[in-house]
């Protein structure tokens, strides 16, 4: 799924340079805990989060995350946007809640590729 499609599905605004509209992601992960992102996310993914500080950009950089969507109209400050542009990580803002943003993307085919060990207990 590319950035332009994600923008349309979430009625999102792109905060960074718009020249990355064709950039694609293979999967998505959502969390507000950056250690969870560092622990469980996978590369080539979209991060959906409610946190807007510079640590989110650093986390994305370390975890090789391709782009970030901020939910519920949460806007990062200019410092955060500048760091994202420097690291070539596009930022989007949507009015949808975490649940609705994830639901809409899932409905259109975007999936999580996180390494999950599901244990079924009787």
């Amino acid at each position: 799924m590319n950035l332009s499609e994600i923008r349309n599905i979430l009625n999102a605004i792109v905060l960074t340079d718009e020249d990355a509209l064709q950039k694609t992601v293979a999967c998505a992960y959502c969390a507000d805990l950056m250690s969870d992102v560092l622990s469980f996310s996978v590369t080539n993914s979209l991060l959906i989060t409610g946190l807007t500080n510079t640590q989110v950009i650093r986390t994305a950089e370390m975890a090789a995350i391709e782009m970030i969507v901020f939910i519920q109209n949460k806007r990062p400050d200019i410092q955060t946007i500048k760091l994202a542009e420097e690291k070539h990580i596009p930022l989007l803002v949507t009015a949808f809640s975490m649940f609705d943003a994830c639901g809409r993307l899932y409905e259109k085919g975007l999936r999580s590729l996180a390494r999950v060990n599901v244990v079924h207990r009787a």
Partner: protein
Amino acid sequence: MGNAEEGIFFLTGKDFTNAGAASSSLKGILERRGVPQDIIRRTAIAAFEAEMNVIIYAVAGMMKYRITDTEISVTLQDMGQGIPSIELAMTEGYSTAPDYIREMGFGSGMGLPNIKKSTDSLVVNSVVGEGTTLEFMIRLKAGE
């Protein structure tokens, strides 16, 4: 690849504006050396978690790295409060972080477990009231 390379970054406690800058620089160095992407990602994640620990809990510290043809070793040494129980700190979900750290998305008790998961070896030594030394190593070539 080339020859061994080493360096040092100085870290300042509570400097959240620059938190992650050292790990970012290290990541850049590994990229320039042509280290495989998955190894860069593991190193960057471990270094960043360890760097955040210094920023959150210590007054000051440093990150030393050494890259050879076979491995990447990183040592973080800080003047901080120390870890009373390393065993507890290695437990997923255990955290002593204050609320303002949690509001930044850290302090969820996954830091040390995550460093261990991302690296081939991890050694943590700590003295309460003095500081902590954390050393990790990631192999560049399998079986060495």
